[in-house]
Symmetry: D3
Subunit: 277 residues, 6 copies
């Protein structure tokens, strides 16, 4: 169960309206790596957690904070649309190219659909979808998804910071960028803890290694002309899981035969091979 | 540019037909973390790469291997549908509950839509969507996405292995599980190399730290009753990036004021506050 | 079965081309609350109707009218793209910022994909999806969905009217806004009739009340600091269904215990709790 | 900002595992009218609200409660998958049709993707999408959307109640059905209050009536053979908004001329009419 | 504008209920190549048509017929769900495996969401999306899309016919299969007429051939080991457009250089190449 | 299995940056009829092919070439974003309308999400989805889908060619347009070969004609006032399959009775008809 505190976690107050930037900010609210994605991902991972209590608690604590970030960004976007003299600008743009230019990048749904409100969409208007998130029940896999999401999220927030001019917007973004720093560190810490505890880094760590084709478990196949891909930590030396040695295969060949499928039975009406007709 | 080799990377030959398992296998072909996802993710990361040549080469080498995995799984699924006496079973199920039971979990599109072929869908029939993948241009973020995808992918392959009975299916899966071991190790190696080179683990490493709200960059906010989340590496001690100290905030309070939005202008026809009407 | 009349229900003739406004008008054609949505919603409700004949007839009559609205809007959009000197403008925009500005808000698919035709998309290009609509078989629920759709639809049409300048566009919109007035009234009338007949307003009215937890059926839980939500018709007095009394709970507490899930069995390879390993 | 209370709003404890019912319950968690939909709809309506404070507070109070419902349902579903001897059943089904039958309706992703956890999907596996929800800034339209969502939601919960056998599941559903009763009453009250305050029921109430084609604002067009649709409150008598009279048009005719579009310019390469070639 | 005739174009009356087959029939109602797809595709092609009147008329005539097919299939599906003793069967399935087996392939939304009605979804529950359809303004391209849609549609109807047992269902399908025969012939005729009139079969026929790289316009590149692809009409002889000669290239080589992208500017925070840092 | 050749099939080198055109070019990379669609469609058709080896080989040869086209377009788009002084332009646009105008049509995700890279999206930002493609197992149906895709694809490439100014972009497009010419010819040839071999053009050719309602198999129903649709090859004369005669039905009437559905059973809680209550 949840309680709502009417205060924002951090202020979200732009110096003035900017409907173009509002459209861009939607990316980190309702985009693939936006706040809705991390909120839903952490909450579902937490609700489904069958492991130690501390992980469930961590997931729900951070998930609950992301709910506050959704609220902050929605408020920031609504304020960038706030008192925006859009109508006047729209009226003017027939005769005044400057205003028309500024209008070019707005999201028309910010007027037509949401009436100057934020939406659960990204910066090009795609509706948020749960296809963005994952919650597998395996926390090492999940925490990696979380570290990825925070990495992508901070990267996008930083790019928006670089594109922003409004000091209020930059201030709110600088808070969110810092929180993403905290969250990247926390998921990295949780990953390190779990990898140590499970004694492996290959998810799932619980699958007996002898059941996989062990002989191809550390190969890198050079599937293109040239061997630039040989020049990295991944191509030689002990594997990261400490259980094998990286092996660079310069000229990989197929292990299997050609694929061939039996002709289809009559009743599916696939193309018949001539003799069958 | 690409060349196709008609041989499969590894054989994909079930001992017999099993349309139910074919439906389940679709998850690791066309699902969120299936082979199409990693193929497309690595190829787009590679095509867009503006960094050192070895990363582009690595991405395209592994992406090219994933194309072979798509081919293997598609073949495996088609063969599980191969020569399946579905029509006969379907005809029988009115009188024979055993057969009806076996039919219960098939994907009807494997007959109606694909004519006994694999489809770019997951195990419940959702069409593959590019919403599943990410390619940001920042390779540390991208490699984390790749490690996540391989972790989720191997986890799902292992679960399918546990559910499989056909020795041919298990054999093919044991190859793919081993390759996922290799790929998890490789992305982990690439991440370690990049983190060392960039001297930080917080993506993007290039954003000046003083531009973020440094004072909240290592806090963990306990946003629920009880402090189970305090019991982890993430709550105290030096932060993982070596640039701060984790700080557990037992009773977090808002930094911001209440949210308030100005009334909407007349012309958007939002609900008017009474005095404005 | 249907017949098509070649005349439009109402004229849809703009005074001149305006590709920017064409892009915005797509919202009420192929958007969430656009004409395709109401057409499909009413037709499916009608086809599936198992209640009195008059409801099926009403649904199909109005659904058939919405098909005419789809036709009118598609024609209006095509004409706004009609004879538009887009090519010339596009050629000019390198040297002439005024034209470039006007181009900024066009939908590029109106040239590339549809060749100056309307599309089943919204104003930001999302393809229409049946996820927008509902048809439940319970007409009181369905009519509420219809009243909602007409309310949202008229609101969006009015906002577009406010943004329009072309007298022909405004004229067509004024017809559609009036029809939305009729439809809101009609669904409101149908709702009133059904509520009276069923003697209740809580859908489904046919579920025995004693089978629900009656003691929480009229509570409003104040889940935030402050009690602004107490100041409304919903917080006290007789409930709208006449079967209870609104009850404002200022300090709600959980009725249930903490959530806890059993550890996962080994074979799903979730994170194991330490003692199990 | 939000706080999480570890206790559930109401207990969610089935008597035993039932993976088939878990799959069905997903509908009211992650389906079109499920708890995620109402949670997100109310929160976004609240964050964007520019009207009186009491409405924002009401929206966020109820939205915060829906977050608790998401938590309850996720927990209930995870428990229905809890300790489920799926593996054993799966192993058995080759020889035992009874078990195979029971397996027929499970969601394979509950094992493969979520590892015995709930997912943000509906009962056939469609991922939740923000295309399900609306938040327009016009509260009368929004409250109608909310009443619709609660009507559909309670209808679906009741249908699941009818299909359920587990007393624990029925108990949790009876709580949720009661809360849906409360919410239907509350949105109905809020609608009544707003309609009275705005003196109209046609959304948006603020658009001057003389700007719409007043002469068609109360017509019902009989667009099919037979006049069953004449037999209802919607076809005669004063209109529901008290501003007109319903008018049944038995033989409606088009107001407009035939549609005709000008030939396309050469450079879009549409089909040319012969003389143009 | 449209009129609705209450009679069905052809009867749609199964001999008895069959909820499993209802779920499968959804494929040709709301699936990728179902009746909703052709209805929407032909109507949008017609509304947007800027060519000779006869094409618009043909498109709208056939599109209007498809609306009748949507109606027939929706009715057929609703009747297959009609009077189905699902509740009883559901209650029984704990003890009676036969009934459970029959339940295994039902669409749970046919009860929970639509209340025994048809839905705009496919046989695995994906909602219909306008991503399925195309309308380009170039009628030769569009008619090919239409011939494709009718080919796929008839193929699926035939496969369902093969799987059907109910004589009423088979009778309705035999009507729809015949109409698909008519429509395939009609689109084929329209294609032949347009190809003759435009003097070419390569869409768009209006693009000057000298503006394309003429030297690669008839090559087939053998991009795999072995030359099975050489054995067909497509590999040698005059090209189908009569303007060139098919040319089989057994060992194709790249025409271009290696891809290389410039390093990203600092402010996008892509991975920096070392010297830039 | 596949090998990657680092050289591009054809050069993809624009004369200079043009982020607006990059956004438009996305249509033929990740749009409905873009290169990802044909790549995936041909590969899946090939993998699933149960017919003669030459068809599988053809499909995989052409599918493999399309992979090279994806690579070329991704490179071209990345280069159009390459070294683009976007930041400077963005900074300038407050004071300089010319630059602002140019910015109006960019895809903000090209900065925020992909960091100056191509994306698997269309020109308005919709993510690529497998809903775009088909692979049925019936090669005549599939080849028609392929001919359609190449027709739509070349049409879009030509439209982009008309809108392009950069000589490098035009050069790359002229190569792709020529290849689309080759592919249209090849699929047309394959269709002709299969139609001749199967002795029919109506897919599936293997369904016994006497099982369809033969009497309606060549009718065209004039479902609108006026008979413009009579003026075409499709309305009279021998049918294209040579097995019948086109028949124009000027005044079509329904073959079936009115639709009527039985009332719903109580337990689904649809609207009850009064006597049942």
């Amino acid at each position: 169960m949840f309680y709502h505190i009417k205060e924002l976690q951090y202020d979200a107050r732009p110096a003035g309206p900017d409907p173009l930037f509002a459209a861009k900010l939607q990316e980190i609210l309702g985009g693939q790596y936006g706040e809705i994605s991390v909120m839903m991902q952490y909450l579902f991972q937490g609700y489904n957690s069958r492991a130690d209590a501390k992980y469930r608690d961590l997931l729900l604590d951070v998930g609950t904070e992301e709910m506050a970030h959704v609220e902050m960004l929605a408020t920031l976007i609504a304020r960038l649309l706030d008192k925006a003299p859009v109508e006047e600008q729209d009226r003017m743009y027939r005769s005044q190219p400057v205003v028309a230019a500024v209008m070019g990048g707005t999201n028309p749904q910010h007027i037509i659909a949401s009436g100057l409100g934020a939406m659960p969409v990204d910066s090009v208007g795609n509706r948020w979808t749960a296809s963005y998130i994952g919650a597998s029940g395996n926390l090492l896999a999940d925490f990696r998804a979380n570290l990825t999401a925070e990495s992508m999220g901070r990267l996008q927030a930083v790019r928006l910071y670089e594109m922003a001019h409004d000091p209020g917007v930059k201030d709110t973004l600088s808070f969110m960028i810092a929180r993403d720093t905290a969250h990247q560190n926390q998921w990295a810490a949780a990953i390190a803890e779990l990898e140590q505890r499970e004694g492996d880094l290959v998810v799932p760590t619980t699958f007996p290694r002898h059941l996989q084709k062990q002989e191809v478990a550390y190969d890198l196949y050079n599937l293109s002309r040239g061997e630039a891909s040989k020049e990295g930590r991944w191509a030689s030396g002990p594997s990261m899981d400490g259980k094998g040695t990286f092996n660079y295969v310069a000229d990989p060949v197929p292990f299997g035969p050609k694929a061939y499928l039996h002709p289809a039975p009559y009743w599916v009406h696939d193309t018949m091979v001539p003799m069958m007709k």
